[in-house]
Subunit: 117 residues, 2 copies
């Protein structure tokens, strides 16, 4: 499919799809015209990217993780221990983020329910 359809399928703007490609997260092939050509798999990849971005990972970290996820089952694991350490750190950061979210959610709830029982 071309970019327009991927936009429709994912809800992500053209601009961002091109940006993700520039950051090495997506590598569509090209038609003779130069148009990008995406596959079904890209739809899921974009979804993952959005999810990881929402979790606060940077595009460059995502670039590290994505290939591993795509090769899931064939256990393509990151090679250098550097990367693993970094991922562990991200995971810890996520755990902390979840704690913060829980607390903030609670705070919001407090205010919302105070608005009217």
């Amino acid at each position: 499919m071309r970019i327009g359809e991927l936009v429709r399928r994912t809800g992500v703007s053209e601009r961002l799809l091109r940006y993700y490609e520039e950051q090495g997260l997506l590598n569509p092939s090209r038609l003779p015209s130069g148009y990008r050509e995406y596959t079904e798999a890209h739809v899921e990849t974009v979804r993952r990217i959005r999810c990881l971005l929402a979790a606060g990972l940077s595009t460059s970290t995502i670039a590290t993780v994505l290939p591993c996820l795509e090769a899931r089952g064939e256990r393509l694991a990151p090679t250098c221990p550097d990367v693993v350490g970094q991922l562990r750190a991200e995971r810890d950061r996520i755990d902390q983020a979840m704690r913060d979210l829980r607390e903030s959610r609670q705070a919001l709830d407090l205010v919302i329910s105070a608005a009217r029982g």
Copy 2:
């Protein structure tokens, strides 16, 4: 206490403490010299601000919520229903963020444990 101590107590930079004040989140009194003077309560307020920021709320939204939290017990609730609606939206956003975090955490775990069983 003056700003330096608050920096030590909270781990938040001078720059940010002044920024939070500029955004209406913090209102220390001033000494005759013009120096800011913070109270014990401000330590906790800063902690809350950090937590809400981490949850993805903007400083202006936080400005809305903070007074309600500070008056907790005296149930100072937001007045206009506009605000409540906005807060509900934030809460929903947080819920989604938590789902994303869970999913991303799982993805990271997958990669990390693939690195070596």
